[in-house]
């Protein structure tokens, strides 16, 4: 019993998803649900990686394509393509990934920092990596996936303020 409790304190669970032949982990506590890909409504004047919004039981939830977010080529969506709905800081959004694969336990001491790889994937959105057997899993920092929009939001707000001046 006490062993178990100690074990839980040190471990966290991650949902792993497949994206361009890599495996990524999302903190399972922020995952709300996993649903098959359904078409979304496009939002004008949005970054290209924001596919649009979908109706999640009455709430309007934006959906981003993780491939596009990471600057990868877009794949055709198929039967395994899923939308993972994530809640971060009270906001919900969906990420579209190639497939979901597993739930893994990661002990905190098994978490390795991400080396600066200069690779295709921006390391800004990763909070670490770990290995399960001979597989490497990149752990996503879900907080940061929507965050770079703050800059855009600020820009939009400034534009709007200019507007008010121009119109008034």
């Amino acid at each position: 019993m006490s062993d178990l409790a100690r074990g839980e304190a040190l471990q966290s669970q991650y949902l792993t998803v497949n994206l361009a032949h890599e495996e990524y982990g999302v903190d399972i506590l922020s995952v709300r649900e996993i649903r098959g890909w359904t078409p979304v409504t496009r939002i004008p004047q949005s970054p290209h990686y924001v596919l649009g919004v979908l109706n999640l039981r009455g709430a309007i939830v934006p959906v981003i394509d993780l491939r596009l977010r990471f600057g990868l080529a877009r794949e055709e969506y198929n039967a395994t393509t899923v939308t993972v709905i994530i809640t971060v800081a009270g906001r919900q959004f969906g990420i579209v990934v190639d497939a979901v694969s597993d739930v893994i336990d990661v002990a905190s001491d098994a978490l390795r920092p991400v080396p600066d790889m200069g690779t295709t994937v921006d390391t800004e959105y990763l909070k670490g990596l770990t290995s399960i057997g001979d597989r490497m899993v990149l752990l996503l920092d879900a907080d940061k996936l929507l965050q770079p929009q703050d800059a855009q939001m600020l820009e939009a707000a400034l534009n709007a303020a200019d507007d008010v001046k121009a119109v008034a």
Partner: protein, 659 residues
């Protein structure tokens, strides 16, 4: 523990008392214009409730001040003192002071301050001025007046759950009682039915109590007893044998009970109080809905095509009920604008006195209902506009006479429905906007290049600029730097618009147009390429099909079309929103003429799909604001459609052009 439980009621007490103060203020202002005794009674009742409540809830300073006010009112009520301007002024200041005390009580600060103390003394002095006799009378109200009440319950009264003792206790709360039991109808012991009431009472009630208050005590047993209430004429006759003197406990609670209804009836802002008729209507509707559901449920068991007509009928019924239910539920949020208008008589009175102007305020359409959210936020802009109208718009009596107008200026606030909107107009018959001063100021600020050829309405638009104030001297009333731009922004935030019409010498009209509700809109679904957008019905003027040759191209890529004698720009929605597979030729699609902020444009879309109600959902909750989009809604098939913000779209287009 007891402290906690009392504090639970503070909120209700504050709410009720503030309503009481509003009622007092309204009655005082009505009295100022000549009113009747009933007004004095209502002021007295409100003051009395506040006094009782504040004593009960532990605000002795408040109770002391209201006590003095009540004493003064008491003299007025008994006709021992004529009401005059000075008393009204004093009472109005007391109302203000009490409001301040309530504010401080809510934030837990000490209540009394110099103002309240000085007011208390002034009130006490005013009470004293009534003359020695009057003071003596006021000091000993017991001798002044009273009532003889003959109360003989019918035998069956106890069976109705009414306890005569309770009634006596309530009477005791009103004043000093001398009660004489009448035993003449008590039967002999063997004939006595203990479940019947055989006693009667003759009650002498001394104290300044109104007849209504006494009748109120017996309100519930009127039909079950013989009751007579007569004024006490001579000095009280010596009590007969078998007298039981009931001591009158200082019953603030009991007395407040009789006055509460009066205080609560007048005003219903602050929290949503839903009329019982509205609730009953909802219950009826839900009942209908259940019946319809049961009817449709039959088809689940067995269905054959012969009953198709019935199914269709049932579905039509369902649609109708759902729509009515929705309207009724939205109606719960609707409150009359009167609760906002109510603050203006006082404001206008104070302002006009201060500025030496004579103003007649007309309030029209107080019963027009507005969404609660809108109502809460429209107050400040309206106050600002009214202040401006009195400060800058209306002239002094001398000036008015010089221009051939009557001495008294008129300020009209009017609320009414127009289409899907509520319109609030603030109309004054003052001097109108000072065209020269505004143009000079605009030139100085570099807002316009020359004063030539600017229409009166365009001049009006100028005053909505940030930081624009033409008052030569900034008075302490308006011109504190919070300008018309804030008014416009507040209204625009509510999804409304402000327009101004002014004619020099003839006054100014501000027209505020507000949406009925923020939660549900009527819209048309328009298809653009692979997508579909909702265009709010209120902004649609007309939809037309244009031949290609009706389009005039202007340098810089703009397109214009002629509509009702004017050239209007065309907004190609697919270009603005980047839609794919949209129709490119004007003659293949449809142009919806839409209007926002007084601008008309033609919105080019592929086709109209149909009309529908849209429940507005926020995009910002999970995403962010999008220019040209006011929100999203969920269609019947569960997919999401975006709602177009016409004003935003027009801004977007002009910005694109500028860029």
């Amino acid at each position: 523990m007891s402290n906690i439980s009392i504090a639970q009621f503070h909120k209700v007490f504050f709410e009720e008392s503030l309503e009481g103060l509003d009622a007092m203020e309204a009655a005082l202002l009505a009295l100022d214009e000549g009113g009747d005794a009933e007004l004095v009674h209502s002021i007295f009742r409100a003051a009395h409730s506040i006094k009782g409540g504040s004593a009960t809830f532990g605000f002795p300073d408040m109770a002391a001040l209201t006590h003095e006010a009540e004493s003064l009112l008491d003299q007025v009520r008994d006709g021992r003192r004529a009401i005059d301007k000075s008393i009204i002024e004093l009472m109005l200041r007391t109302v203000d002071c009490l409001r301040g005390m309530f504010d401080r009580a809510q934030s837990g600060q000490p209540l009394a301050n110099g103002e309240s103390e000085s007011l208390k003394q002034q009130l006490a002095a005013a009470v004293g001025h009534a003359g020695p006799t009057a003071t003596k009378v006021a000091a000993k109200p017991a001798a002044a007046s009273g009532w003889i009440i003959q109360f003989r319950p019918h035998a069956g009264m106890l069976a109705g759950g009414n306890d005569p003792l309770r009634l006596l206790r309530e009477l005791a709360a009103l004043g000093q009682l001398v009660v004489e039991a009448q035993l003449d109808r008590v039967p002999t012991l063997d004939a006595l039915d203990p479940t019947e009431c055989h006693l009667g009472w003759r009650i002498e009630l001394t104290g300044s109590v109104s007849r209504e208050a006494i009748a109120g005590v017996f309100e519930w047993v009127e039909d079950e007893c013989d009751l007579s209430i007569e004024p006490l004429v001579a000095a009280a006759p010596p009590p007969a044998p078998a007298v039981e003197a009931v001591s009158a406990p200082a019953g603030a609670g009991g007395a407040a009970g009789t006055t509460r209804s009066a205080a609560a009836s007048s005003n219903d802002a602050g929290s949503v109080r839903v009329g019982i008729d509205k609730i009953d209507g909802l219950i009826d509707l839900v009942g209908e809905l259940v019946i319809t559901q049961a009817m449709l449920d039959q088809f689940r068991e067995e269905f054959d095509p012969s009953r198709l007509a019935m199914l269709q009928q049932g579905l039509a019924q369902l649609a109708r009920h759902t729509r009515t239910l929705q309207e009724s539920v939205m109606g719960i949020r609707m409150l009359p604008i009167g609760s906002v208008f109510n603050r203006f008589p006082r404001l206008v009175r104070d302002l006009s006195q201060k500025l030496g102007k004579q103003v007649k305020l007309e309030l029209v359409g107080e019963h027009t209902e507005l969404d609660k959210t809108v109502l809460e936020k429209i107050g400040d802009p309206l106050v600002h506009l009214v202040r401006n109208a009195i400060d800058h718009g209306l002239e002094t009596p001398e000036k008015r006479r010089a221009t051939g107008k009557g001495d008294i200026g008129t300020l009209r606030l009017e609320a009414f429905h127009r289409g899907g909107s509520i319109v609030v107009e603030i109309v004054d018959d003052g001097a109108g906007l000072n065209r020269e001063a505004i143009i000079a100021k605009a030139l100085q600020k570099g807002l316009i290049k020359s004063g030539e050829g600017i229409s009166d309405d365009e001049v009006g638009e100028l005053i909505f600029q940030p930081g624009f104030s033409t008052a030569a001297v900034t008075t302490d009333l308006s011109g504190r730097g919070v300008g018309m731009d804030v008014v416009r922004r507040n209204v625009v935030d509510l999804g409304g618009t402000v327009a101004i019409k002014t004619r020099p010498g003839n006054g100014t009209t501000f027209t505020i147009t507000l949406p009925l509700t923020l939660a549900i809109i009527d819209g048309l679904r328009a298809a653009v390429g692979d997508e579909c957008y909702i265009v709010p019905l209120v902004s649609i003027v007309e939809s037309i099909q244009l031949p290609a040759e009706a389009i005039r191209s202007v340098t810089g890529g703009g397109e214009l079309f002629r509509f009702r004698g004017e050239y209007r720009p065309i907004v190609r929605l697919h270009q603005q929103f980047g839609c794919t597979n949209a129709r490119q030729n004007i003659e293949d699609g449809l142009v919806i003429v839409v209007e926002a902020d007084g601008n008309q444009v033609g919105l080019f879309v592929d086709e109209l799909i149909g009309q529908q109600q849209a429940v507005v959902k926020s995009l910002e909750a999970n995403y962010r604001r999008v220019d040209g989009i006011s929100g999203a809604t969920i269609l019947a098939d569960g997919s999401v459609a975006l709602i177009i913000d016409i004003a935003g779209l027009i801004r977007l287009q002009s910005r694109r052009k500028a860029a």
